[in-house]
């Protein structure tokens, strides 16, 4: 019988173990997609996959921000609340105050980044657990939503409606402009992580923050930076969600932080930090989206099954992570 420890030591020895979770996610995705195609004729339409992107563009952006944070070994629980706050602020400013779109957009993005920056500062300078600080941030942002209003505010500002209704076509298929924005965010993030100092310092801090400090890396700047990025991505995700829903609502994106974390983890990023890729996060989001689509196609299962499957997958991937990380006593 092969023991857990043995399998682990064998896997941990392989040079390419960094990419192992990525391959696992890719295989899983292919498997799920394949089973969809086999079961349902309509599934093979490329538009099915494109719809997954359309329905999850905002989640993708939020999850990319989360990837930065988790790579440093932190966590950001405030993202869902910041998304909701962004939709609320945008909706009131556009509809209630009659602000123009070009003023609202930078303002809400700045607001998200500032919230992230503030949380990053508290986490770094007061040495408080990210879990606790961002939990407080989550309550704060949700609370702010309710002070703005408790009911849903519909948006019919022209820029927003254009973004919601226009389609980027190629052939018979299309995506929404939001998907284009989300993909740009993914590319920029992937570039930043692989080719800039900010990105590399993010990995270094996740590897060992004390070493990073002694190596003379700007730990404070980087750590605050990743929370700022996450805040910015949440706000941008909020904007995309408000394009998608054409409304602002305090109850938008409840629990989205958990979806984002799930996508990042299923995408192969280590929760302890230091290892992972944005590409993995994209795959993670796709996995979540395909599960939803499969359940919709099936039609008999309740949408709660989505949660159950995601839960099971999370377990599986966390187990996989334990297998490939080198042993620590």
């Amino acid at each position: 019988m092969t023991t857990f420890a043995e399998v682990r030591s064998r896997l941990a020895g392989t040079r390419q173990r960094r990419y192992l979770p990525l391959y696992a996610t890719l295989a899983l995705l292919a498997l799920m997609y394949g089973s969809g195609v086999v079961q349902y004729e309509a599934f093979s339409d490329p538009q099915v996959v494109l719809n997954v992107f359309i329905d999850n563009g905002f989640l993708l952006v939020v999850a990319v921000g989360m990837t930065f944070v988790i790579l440093t070994g932190g966590i950001d629980l405030s993202v869902g609340a910041v998304v909701a706050l962004t939709t609320m602020v945008s909706a009131t400013l556009l509809e209630g105050q009659g602000w123009p779109a070009f003023a609202v957009l930078p303002l809400v993005l700045l607001m998200g980044a500032t919230l992230g920056f503030g949380m990053g500062c508290i986490i770094h300078y007061f040495e408080i657990q990210p879990f606790i600080v961002t939990l407080a941030g989550m309550f704060l942002a949700r609370g702010l939503c309710y002070t703005i209003g408790t009911s849903s505010i519909t948006i019919d500002e022209p820029f927003w409606t254009t973004m919601a209704q226009s389609k980027v076509r190629f052939g018979d298929n299309f995506i929404s402009p939001s998907v284009v924005i989300a993909l740009v965010v993914v590319l920029v993030a992937a570039y930043v992580l692989a080719f800039t100092r900010l990105g590399r310092n993010t990995y270094a801090i996740g590897g060992n923050p004390r070493s990073a400090h002694l190596m003379g890396l700007p730990v404070a700047r980087t750590r605050i930076g990743v929370y700022t990025i996450s805040g910015f991505c949440s706000a941008l995700g909020g904007v995309l969600l408000s394009f998608y829903m054409l409304s602002g609502n305090s109850l938008h994106a409840v629990g989205m932080e958990l979806d984002a974390i799930a996508a990042v983890v299923i995408g192969g990023t280590l929760l302890t930090g230091g290892s992972g890729f944005v590409l993995g996060t994209v795959l993670g989001v796709l996995v979540l989206g395909i599960i939803q689509t499969l359940i919709t196609f099936d039609g008999r299962l309740s949408s709660w099954w989505t949660k159950i499957v995601i839960g099971a997958l999370l377990f599986a991937f966390i187990l996989l992570q334990r297998l490939i990380t080198p042993r620590k006593q």
């Binding site: 590399r200 590897g207 060992n208 290892s275 080198p326």
Partner: protein, 503 residues
Amino acid sequence: MTEAILTMTGIGKEFPGVKALSEVDFRLLPGEVHALMGENGAGKSTLIKVLTGVYDIDQGSIVLDGRPVEFSGPLQAQHAGISTVYQEINLCPNLSVAENIFIGREPRLLGHIRWSTVERRASELLRRLQLDIDVSAMLGTYSIAVQQMVAIARAIDISAKVLILDEPTSSLDAGEVGQLFRVMRQLKDEGIAILFVTHFLDQVYEIADRITVLRNGRRVGEYRTAELTLIDLIGKMIGKELEVLERLEDRPKRAQEGDVPLVDARELGRKGAVAPFSLTIHKGEVVGLAGLLGSGRTEVARLLYGADRADHGQLAVDGRAVTMRGPRSAMAKNIAFCSENRRTEGLIEELTVRENIVLAMQATRGWTRPIPRRRQDELVDRYIKALDIRPANPDAPVRDLSGGNQQKVLLARWLITEPRLLILDEPTRGIDIGAKAEIQRLVAQLSDGGMAVLFVSAELEEVLRLSHKVAVLRDRHLIAELPNDDTLDVDRVMETIASGAKP
């Protein structure tokens, strides 16, 4: 005389309950290698950390290049031209070797890191240190020794005015130390000032121009190496004469007995780690493992302990065949393993000295049967005294101890379990000369009392002083087993390694 490039005056540093430094003066001249010497806990690392801004400075002033400075962290110190290798290897195991060398100062083009240049320059740099490894592999996959070389490579490449090396040679073997010294001499000729900390006295005499001795956080004095004899240096460091070493020399060598060996490995091996080898260890016998870095010393120890699974051959304990299923089964057979890698595999930094010491013993008893507090105190006190752990406070967190004292805590943990076979992998690394002699004496005492010991050390003198027989490894093969009689000396072991004679 040349102007000092660095002058520290009246430095004081206090930690809660410990005065780590008081009134310390220190100066460094350009183009010299300056050794900072002292016992474990004397304050060497603290002085370095105060200088580079890791700790705030309580008293005193620092002048660098004629300007008063006070750094708020290693980054500022680096910018001002002070490049440091701290005592515990401080690199990121999840990044590639090349990246560890260049992170923070990667060659860039418009903000874009040029990875091909990074990797090319990293392997050039390592080749200058005669290290030919795959620089794109993750650092964590390499041994401690390689990691130490990588840390050194990083520091020397920063080409600073001042280079600080806090025990850089602790896990290097003679060849690598030679490479390091060659590079240090080059840098010295370029006018760089080098601060060097080590517990290897012969290395000090080989490379250092001057020596500053610290004792209990105070400066004893500054001397020219040429004018200070070894005996005087030791005297100044420990404040008294040293006699333990001599006492050990004429220790009666134990004759081999015909009884059943305690541990009998036959053709034991593991692919990629070490070729099949046979080795017996008897009760009361000290077996030394000698060999260069990467020769498979640690791998042999890990196989015997079951930290890695063997895929070849058999292992018998007390004449009965066993399969080692990891540390727990080894512990059940009363085999203890004191790892060379104290930072990641050994100590739990948040726990106190007491908790760290009783950890292994508690684990063998099972957590449902706690060791009575009185017994804990008794044991812990005994070993704090025996190993001279400082500060002698069982409730201090291990994190706050000096490097050498942490090593002693780890050693104490395994000694109190009173195993039948104790495997010591580099037990005296980073330990000062006085304590080293104490530890050697303790090991001898324990083996006289019937404990078998497998002693792994890069220091051949130490291996020879303690062992009844020496197994020599080369390129992951056990090539010879030499009884430690009067004819065996360091040169003969070296020759055996060099010639690679098969048994």
